[in-house]
Subunit: 223 residues, 2 copies
């Protein structure tokens, strides 16, 4: 299993149209069959090495159904993340009245739980698809990324900021914090780039220089 | 001008091969001519409305040269960012011995300076190309993004975190902080997802709850 959580497709609320209702249930069942079959295959092989036909054969479901539900092989990753999120939401609900840090801690637990049980195939699925994005995101500005990374390495060397996060990752997040306000103000036609980018830089820096808390572990007990 | 900084192509160090040297200089000059021509056109129209032919005609440079230098029309954005970074590096150099926060403050100034002078064409260039990435980045996990955003909106409403950053933007950055360690540990074949994701979440949260500093303005005087 990719994620240890049962499929949680909520039945669509429909008063009449029972035929439609049956179709939704069939779709749910087929999605679960296909996803589980893919998950079993991904435990040992990469997504590239697995054909849609093979997934369908194992699931006993037709090829057309696969494409109707997932669109592409990569749609399986969306399903992986949908289940992961259902798991996170269930953890948060079970915890009751908690603050944001605790809630996001449960999201983190769900992420670790899902990826901790992921086979090499899942890793390659993520790497060849969506999780490349954080690296590709700096393709349009390689010099900017290099400049920021160089300064961060220097600050880690001098002790200005703790070196608890790899410099390449810290630089990526810093550049995202610096450029995100540009994207946001452009796409929202807002006129607050100056203020927003100042706030985000301050927040990023305040986080970087905050004392690491080695005792701040996962919310729940380890599995 | 997109960025108020002169082109800073460093001449490649070459002892012999003067013919090659001439080619590099021609390339520099052509790149500057093409970029400036594009920048003038982009001041009033979007990149979609401008043809490569039109840019080349204005610059007095051949079409093949354009594609050799920029590969695609979108290569102009890379050049925009290269100049922006040269500006940032010059500001940092001029400031001498400064810490990371100050250095990144200069990067921020360069970004604001470049985008503050950008015409509608530049905005559309960025929006139709690279700066969509921060939004597309959540396409594989829309439910995860929705869950985090919902919790952040609640935390802003209750006052747990200050509402100085738009919730959609804060949620995007939170999800990036939560998922970046997955991408990093996968691509580096490292075994520190648990620790790294805890540190990054703590840093993100420490930043979010840090007191906003409305007086922390741009490093330099406004232009």
């Amino acid at each position: 299993m990719l994620v240890r959580v049962k499929s949680r497709y909520r039945p669509v609320a429909m008063t009449a149209a029972e035929a439609m209702d049956g179709r939704v249930r069939r779709r749910e069942r087929n999605a679960a069959l296909l996803y589980d079959a893919a998950a079993e295959l991904l435990a040992t092989r990469s997504l590239d090495e697995i054909s849609v036909e093979e997934i369908c054969r194992r699931a006993g479901v037709g090829r057309a159904t696969f494409f109707r539900i997932f669109e592409t092989k990569e749609g399986l990753l969306r399903e992986f993340n949908r289940r992961l999120t259902a798991d996170a939401a269930a953890r948060i609900d079970a915890a009751g009245d908690i603050d944001l840090r605790a809630a996001l801690g449960h999201v983190r637990d769900a992420i670790i739980e899902a990826w901790g049980h992921a086979g090499p195939g899942h890793a390659s699925m993520a790497l060849t698809y969506a999780y490349h994005a954080p690296e590709r995101i700096h393709d349009p500005h390689p010099e900017l990324y290099a400049l920021v990374r160089q300064r961060i390495e220097r600050a880690m060397a001098s002790g200005e900021i703790p070196g608890v996060v790899p410099a390449s990752l810290a630089a990526s997040l810093a550049v995202i914090n610096l450029t995100a306000p540009v994207a946001w103000t452009l796409s929202h036609r807002a006129d607050e780039l100056d203020e927003l980018s100042g706030v985000l830089l301050d927040q990023w820096y305040a986080g970087m220089i905050s004392t690491p808390k080695p005792d701040r572990r996962r919310n729940g007990p380890r599995p």
